[in-house]
């Protein structure tokens, strides 16, 4: 019985190999040939903009707080109109594990994962991306969302005048 088992164990893999020999290969000739990953593929991270062009990131530190390898850092600052933004924003892609937790944490949909997986580099320091490198000219996956249309901070609209808010009322108007 042992002998039979050994013979089977030797031939069967060859048989399987032989079977695959005549199929279309799974691997591709990267980098000559490139594959398009699905849109929700988790690779290079970008910072997106509001539909009206403003930077979405409000430097709330939630992504950096959520990041399990601590590769996001930033400094918050305030604009003249009361808008909070990142004075600088840095992702160290040599540490990033592309888990997507930052994108999940982001309350403003600013930080998003893109399918661009080609970020290998010979010099590891080139993998430290600054805000200029991260910020793109577009909304990314959600073309509608604008945090300031929902927040009470009064940047996009006056406070209390956002779509899901009522404006202030004058209770004295209810007096007889």
């Amino acid at each position: 019985m042992t002998l039979w088992r050994d013979i089977k164990g030797t031939l069967q893999p060859f048989w399987i190999t032989l079977g695959y020999l005549f199929q279309k290969p799974v691997t591709i000739q990267y980098p000559e040939v490139k594959r398009t990953p699905p849109p929700r593929y988790r690779a290079r991270i970008v910072l997106t903009r509001d539909p009206d062009g403003g930077e979405r990131c409000v430097a709330c530190h939630l992504c950096s707080g959520a990041c399990p390898v601590d590769c996001i850092s930033m400094q918050a600052a305030e604009d003249a109109d009361g808008r909070r933004y990142a004075a600088w924003f840095r992702i160290n892609f040599s540490r990033c594990i592309f888990c997507g937790l930052c994108a999940e944490a982001c309350p403003t949909l600013a930080i998003q994962m893109t399918p661009d997986y080609e970020i290998c580099n010979r010099d590891i320091l080139n993998l430290v991306y600054e805000k200029e490198d991260l910020l793109i000219d577009g909304c990314g996956k959600d073309t509608q969302y604008n945090f300031y249309e929902h927040a009470g901070i009064g940047v996009a609209n006056e406070r209390g005048r956002n779509q899901d808010e009522y404006g202030p009322v004058d209770p004295k108007s209810l007096l007889p």
């Binding site: 709330c60 909070r84 009470g152 901070i153």
Partner: protein, 826 residues
Amino acid sequence: MVNLTIDGKQVTVSKTATIYDAAKEVGINIPVLCYAKKLLPYGACRFCLVQVEQMKGRLIPACTTPVSEGMVVTTTSEEIQKVRKTVMEFLLVNHVLDCPVCDKGGECDLQDLAYEFGSISNRFEGVKFDLPTDEINPLIERNMNRCVLCGRCVRVCDEVVGYGSYSFINRGFETKIATAYDRGLNCEFCGQCVSLCPVGAILPRPFKFKARPWQIKEVDSVCGYCGNGCTVTLGVLDNKIETIRFNDEIGVNDGNLCIRGRFGYAYVNHQKRLTKPLVRKEGQLVEVEWDEALQVAAEGLSNAQNGQGVGILSGARLTNEEFFLLKNLAKTIGTDHLDHSGGECYKGVSEGLNETLGVKASTGTFPQLESCDVILAIRSDFWETHPVVGMVVNQAIRRNDAQLVVVADKRGKLTKLPRARTLLTKAGYELSILNAMSKVLLDEGLAQVDGLQNLDAFKAALSEYTPENVAQQTGVDADLLKDSARKLAGAKKSAILLAYGLPYTAQSKELAAAAANLALLAGIPGRAGSGLYLCGEKANSQGAIDLGVLPAGNGLGAQQMLTAAGEGKLDALYVIAEDPISSYPDRQMVEQAMDKVGFSVVQDLFLSATAEKADVVFPAASFAEKEGTFTNAERRIQRVRQGIKSPGEAKTDGAIISALANKLGNTLSFTGEAAIFAEIGKDVPAYAEFNYHEIGSQGVVWGGETLAPTRRNLVSVSAEQPASADYHLVTGSALYHSGTVSVHASGPLAVMPEAYVELGREDAAALGVNDGDLLKVAGNGVEIQLKAKVDNRLPKGLLFAPYHFGNAGLNKLYRGEAVVAVSVSK
């Protein structure tokens, strides 16, 4: 004690406890929002609702309901959770969705509760507000759109701080917190409301957008400014103090802070900090390596010691351990001329109290003050020098109906407290009033005279000080004076407060003795709950006295050293942590001392006016950069902890002193602060019972809560007659500054940027002066110019100028007298 059951657990608590306190005792956490440990129960938010078996049919707020015998409490059930969740929804009806841009995010009670209750949607819809942010002051930002109306700010500012900035205005949905006339906040900026606001409605502006709470490393240490010794929590990010937080759970003084502790940290990070040793070469101070600087200093000092001697003068920034090393150094050098900063001014403690009570410290602790019935404050400046003790006095008044009596030459925050009685005297006559009060007690037979020494001599010496005489002299109402004395004698628990410091040099020993005499007659020293509080101006003034950083034997005191140096009778001065040219009375004398002395070493954080004249300057470390212990004005020994590294090559005072001692041939070395602390115990018996590592968050109080006097000796002291003139100038502390260090801190500077002279409206009108005008003040043959500040605090003929700003030159004019006779013109 009361027994009750909470969630099936048996609890026994005192009958003043609330259900919330009792639950906490057994580790059951009831969610709260408006509750704060140091405030009285209020019950605004209804988060803490619980069910009580005996009060079925409705839910009871745990934070306001006192426990009663046999109570059976359920803290969580489906119904309770449902109600709490509804409360949450109500709160969120008009709460803005600002979390990502709100600086409170990450430590916001509302956020935490919303997370805990899983509130992700709201059944109710309501109005959102568009209230402008209040940013009119430089330190505190208020955004009332985020307010949850818990009332904590209103309560703390009233109950604890006694300032009363806030109140609720409007009704119903429109209710909001506002300042007077809704004009924006302008107060004493203690930041208590910032600490207590559970949400992001009140935030510290200097910290705005600097960091999220989880990035900050928190280090509990002791405030480096005044002798109050408040626990400050350093918020450290990247080796920089970004903010000061508070600790009301376990901190000393309930986590209360004043503006200096809360906002005065920026000097630690200041760009102008010294980072390298300097040595004078060809008339210029140039940067050198440590070794060279130490060598030059060691040679200079030992040469001087072989000549006419070395004087060592140290400020009270040093820890006890560093003071110990300093004493050692003095021994190595062989000099007796060792003194701690303040010179004359602390003689009240080291001599005045010593002669009367045989102790050299306050006899009570600050928490005891809160339950005193009668509190006598000498000078109204106590609030300015020790703001957080002032807050305890305020609580004593508000919570326990204490009677406050202030003997002062001007009004101030203390005199504005409810029911405060002010014996407003002509400047410089406090001593006479104390003597008169003593006389009243003796004459009316109210005094406790058992076991008092020197009673007869004392009685005889007081004969002049009849209330009527003194009243005539000082302008105080005689009946009020008598009644105050009677109140003090009649109280079960009473306290006398007196602060000392550089601007209060005049008659400091006599004044302390007079206060001690009065305390003895009123039976205060040694009685549990009562106390005579003589509080030092600086963080470790008491430590310096405990460790005996005082002239030994024939040694010279601070002022004498400087005089001797000026007369060429001392060959070297070693000045540590003090800028005598800016802060000491009589600048000419100090300048002359620094000019004439053959060799001088200055060790400081900044290139101060004194350091500029030195031959060697050592860059030292601030309180945030070292380990050790401070002893505050109530004898509490507390751990100082290192939060950040020193800039450049700056070293701690202890390290510098040790290195210098080494250069001078002292081979003694210690491994760490704990070893030195143990060593201190051998010299100072009171410290021997404590182990450095066992000093907890509340510190340890040497001598017990009530320090027993070893002597009850009445010492007759008589008042000096202040010079008479049309205008008198007094100096003192301003609330926003402490010593000369805070003038390097951006927080206090933002509120009080420069020196000023304060005068009453009457005088201002007579002189035709408006707020902000430049005034010429001349006295002692010197004229200086100061900006005028007009208000109604000062009586006619009295001017006040704070002493913190060295560049204003106030100490050219002020030479240590109680009042300076001046002339004023525009």
